[in-house]
């Protein structure tokens, strides 16, 4: 029998009555699996994350089903969700400074998460907090536990957030742009820690970001979102090596790489023309067709569906093998 997946999202729709930010998204994160959700602003990736955590802004509602730990998260009450957050699923946010309580010591914030969800007493919770801090490779752990969030650097704060997310051995961690606000040189250390911690505990990871290299470094599978839908999904190596959707290929081509640098000053990055369509004015058919150079009349009229591990595209990019065939 197969292990129950850490997260099984079916036909998730998120809207506020007039606008629909997520328009029918389905994906599965296997137990202990690491999945990436990649997209630009307006793609609906952050709304997806907030819906999974039951943290949607006022006026926004989710429909569909999100199976996790044997329950449908969409149907859960606020109280049940808050009892679950931090225990079976937890989240790492982009900005650790606003996610931490500024007037309470860091150590206290970690121990209160532990004591809320386990029956550990104060002494035991403090011991575990220190252990977590040490695992996060933060030197002088005791001192850090007594510090207030503003006394720490961005990288240190984000490690505290990860420590808090890991504190109760959750089945799933949702990380929403966890390193975007950090300095480049710190980004890699934080990713390394998150990666190690998740692997070691067998905890599943849903990584939400616009940064393709981060997905490539951290995830096994990836779902590419555009205008509220998943346009391509599959194993990271497959999707990134031979993308089938023109949007995925465009994203990959617009990354500055060594090749661009090695060329002389006249080299140009490939770029996707146009811009992400606003939610209230989505084009008919495939939402990407106005920016796609392979668009046909079919693309302009009918919305392509995502079937299995493929791309939601009427004229997918030819696979490399087909290209190189005589």
């Amino acid at each position: 029998m197969m292990a129950r997946p850490a997260l099984d999202v079916r036909d998730l729709v998120v809207g506020n009555g007039t606008l629909t930010a997520v328009r029918g998204v389905s994906f599965t994160v296997p137990a202990g699996g690491r999945m990436g959700l990649v997209g630009e602003s307006g793609s609906g990736k952050s709304m997806t994350a907030l819906a999974l955590m039951g943290l949607l802004p006022m006026g926004w509602n989710a429909a569909g089903s999100v199976l996790h730990d044997g329950v449908d998260l969409v149907q859960q009450s606020d109280r049940a969700m808050s009892a679950r957050r931090g225990r079976t699923l937890s989240m790492v946010f982009q900005d650790p400074l606003s996610a931490l309580d500024p007037v309470r010591r860091v150590g206290h914030q970690i121990t209160s998460v532990i004591r809320r969800h386990t029956d550990a007493d104060r002494r035991e919770a403090e011991r575990r907090a220190l252990e977590l801090i040490n695992q996060m490779k933060l030197p002088r752990g005791e001192q850090i536990l007594r510090a207030y969030p503003h006394e720490l650097s961005g990288g240190q704060r984000q490690r505290i957030m990860i420590a808090m997310a890991l504190a109760c051995y959750p089945q799933l961690i949702i990380a929403d742009e966890p390193t975007t606000a950090l300095d480049v040189t710190v980004q890699k250390q934080v990713l390394r820690l998150l990666n190690g911690a998740v692997k070691e505990r067998g905890c599943a990871l849903l990584m939400i970001t616009h940064d393709l290299p981060v997905i490539a470094a951290m995830c096994d599978t990836v779902a590419v979102m555009y205008a509220g839908r998943i346009v391509e999904m599959g194993p990271v190596a497959e999707v990134f090596r031979s993308p089938r959707h023109h949007y995925t290929r465009g994203l990959l081509d617009s990354q500055p790489t060594m090749d661009n640098i090695a060329l002389d000053g006249s080299s140009r990055l490939a770029s996707i023309p146009g811009m992400v369509p606003p939610l209230h004015d989505l084009p008919a058919g495939c939402a990407f067709h106005p920016r796609c150079n392979a668009a046909t009349d079919t693309c302009r009229m009918r919305m392509p569906e995502l079937v299995g591990d493929n791309a939601a595209c009427w004229n997918p990019v030819a696979a490399l093998a087909e290209l190189s065939a005589p």
């Binding site: 802004p57 926004w60 004015d281």
Partner: protein
């Protein structure tokens, strides 16, 4: 910011594109406009038509009940028509409330902008002065003014200006400071625009919404304060008429339970409610953060 609890979500990713023109016509704006316009119309009509002279006593018709012929809401203890008094009272309320709010808005805008843009010393001087003014109880100021200048509409306007200006200064200062931190100010400085130009062309248009909303709210507060001062006898006096004065007279002559106290009381409630709803409604409409921003 309406979604304070969600600061963590990526600004690049989570701007959940506000609905186009959402809330342009909301309920509080409609009711607020209705009540406010009605109030203004009554005040304007009072210049051209009054059922009878509200200041001439007529002992024969004293204390007529509401619905009496020629006196829709009856008469007071000296036989003066209530409707006429209410209509003239509306005029006074506008004069005093709008006068106080306008002068404070002007003074507050000037001092607030100076505090925001002219360096630390100016800021400290203005902000601390505002603190001191706010720490003096308004009633003391009003009593001192009434004692030195004699009670009246003008005195009340001065008193309101003294109460409201420091609050306006603070609001304008903080609104201006947040605009001054924007990059377009940096850009304007870089191509050589001076402080006055930046304040007039960049800062003022961007805080106009705040100014309008604050004005309506302080207009309402001014009417309420004027009523309070007149009720205590340090505001408007005869031959001017104000709703607060009517309350005072109703209490002096027949006790607070008199139906005579109800009419000016209701007038005050509706006007203050109307202006507050208008202010809240305008806040939603004028807040640029609620504007759609997709092309």
């Amino acid at each position: 910011m309406s979604n304070i609890g969600l600061q963590h979500s990526a600004p690049s990713a989570s701007t959940p594109a506000k609905a186009p023109r959402r809330g342009t016509w909301n309920m509080s704006l409609v009711i607020g406009i209705g009540l406010t316009v009605g109030f203004l119309v009554i005040a304007i009509v009072s210049f051209f038509y009054l059922p009878s002279n509200p200041n001439i006593p007529n002992i024969r018709f004293r204390l007529l009940p509401a619905g009496s012929p020629g006196h829709l809401l009856g008469t007071d203890v000296l036989g003066r028509d209530i409707v006429s008094q209410l209509m003239v009272g509306a005029r006074t309320s506008i004069l005093v409330g709008a006068g106080g709010a306008t002068i404070s808005l002007l003074l507050g805008t000037i001092t607030g902008l100076i505090a925001a843009a002219y360096g630390k010393i100016a800021d400290e001087a203005i902000s601390r002065s505002a603190d001191i003014m706010l720490s003096i109880p308004g009633m003391v100021t009003a009593l001192v003014l009434a004692a030195t200048m004699g009670p009246g509409a003008l005195t009340t306007i001065f008193a309101l200006t003294a109460f409201f200006t420091p609050s306006f200064t603070r609001v304008i200062r903080s609104a201006a400071m947040s605009v001054l931190q924007e990059d377009f100010i940096t850009a304007a400085k870089l191509y050589g625009r001076g402080r006055v130009f930046i304040l007039a062309r960049h800062v003022l248009p961007n805080i106009a919404g705040v100014m309008i909303v604050q004005f309506t709210l302080y207009f309402a507060a001014g009417i309420l304060t004027e009523a309070g001062l007149s009720y205590l006898g340090v505001g408007v006096t005869r031959p001017s008429i104000s709703w607060g004065l009517m309350l005072n007279e109703a209490q002096q002559s027949v006790g607070i339970s008199s139906p005579l106290a109800i009419w000016p009381g209701l007038a005050i409630v509706f006007v203050v409610l109307g202006l507050n709803l208008l202010g809240d409604g305008l806040r939603d409409v004028l807040d640029p953060k609620l504007k759609p921003r997709a092309a």
